[in-house]
Amino acid sequence: MSEHNHTPGSVAPVERRVDAIQSVLEERGMKPAEFIEQANHLVEEQWVPRNGAHVVARAWTDAAFRQRLFANGREAVAELGLSMPPHHRHLVALENTATVHNVICCTLCSCTAFTIIGLPPDWYKDLEYRARVVRESRTVLREMGLALPPEVEIRVWDTTADTRYMVLPVQPPRSIGWPEEKLVELVSQDSMIGVARL
């Protein structure tokens, strides 16, 4: 086993390191260039927060769907044509109410229900959020623009295993009675992570 940190000299620029990795995968016949192109399409167009917004809008307007979403999230979102990778084995929708506020994190890395609520934003994966949101939840939310009254109970969900989470925000009263297509526009990624209320 070679020592891992014996190499003197300056570190190669990150793009050259990425090129080096890609050349290895190419030689192994894994066709990385093709896969990268497909992956770009997936992350830019398919795995977007709008998917989760559809789930939320449906849950707001269809009480039976809402119950199915709580009972088995993975099966419920499949009704809307949404799928999850094999290792996202369970989807739990967290219901916000007037007195309960849910917020999701992954203190150990960056786990996210990304096919549903989109790829995680930079701050979610960064050190400050991972360290602070479990311990200083109310303070961190206020810093991020969400000041919650003291009577609102905060529940922080640390994504440590193969369960993935999404927050089901409270429907804004002004939007009651709106059609689903209009409701979709209201729902932000931040509200489904739980750092905003609508």
Binding site: S10, S23, M30, L108, P121, R135, I154
Partner: protein
């Protein structure tokens, strides 16, 4: 592993650098890295648990100063070498410079307990185990008590999966901890819910 990655509850950090239109990616190379680790998993070169643990094994100064996708790149490179697809020398030759890697892994472990069942409302305590390999138990819950809210389906056991050790899948309990129990008089009041594998738990009588 009580590694540098285990950040939950660690103090001294500043404000979350949030903006309403925050992006997932900031440069094309980041998307390439994200695609390529995913490709390697699909091709069976390594699994997600090995990938996460390779990042956890990064030298602490590097982990703390690297951005998210450089961590991903480092984990990917380390595993490609450890799985024998390329040598470090060859990778550095192609990159025309040093390619910092993660440090070697310690051994993993199999399930701690036989099949167990927990019911909602059970009071449980997180075992005080400290293991050198991969564990999906954040340090802030070690030895702490909480209440079982629900149970998940059985999942592959990370402590084993990250190390090629044979183990049975086991469920996690959604355990609810009060922030007061986790950090007495040193936390904002909240409930913290953590998915805890049965092997990390003991029942409180």
């Amino acid at each position: 592993m009580d590694g540098i990655h285990d950040l939950g509850g660690r103090q001294g950090f500043g404000p979350v650098r949030h903006s309403p239109q925050a992006q997932a990616f900031h440069a094309p190379w980041e998307k390439r890295v994200n695609a390529m680790y995913s490709l390697a998993v699909r091709q069976g070169v390594f699994n997600m648990d090995e990938y996460r643990h390779a990042i956890e094994r990064m030298e602490p100064r590097h982990y703390m100063s690297a951005g998210y996708y450089e961590r991903s790149l480092t984990g990917l490179a380390t595993l490609l070498i450890e799985k024998g697809l390329v040598s470090r020398e060859e990778l550095e030759r192609r990159a025309q410079g040093a390619f910092p890697l993660a440090l070697p892994a310690a051994p993993g472990r199999s399930n701690v307990t036989g099949p167990t069942s927990f019911n909602p409302g059970d009071r449980v305590r997180v075992r005080a185990d400290s293991i050198p390999g991969h564990i999906r138990m954040p340090g802030y819950i070690r030895g702490k008590s909480g209440v079982v809210v629900s149970q998940s389906p059985a999942y592959p056991f990370p402590d084993a999966q990250a190390h090629g050790v044979v183990a049975a899948d086991e469920p996690t309990c959604d355990v609810r901890f009060s922030s007061e129990a986790l950090w007495p008089e040193s936390a904002d009041r909240a409930f913290v819910h953590v998915g805890v594998f049965h092997s990390y738990l003991e029942r409180i009588a």
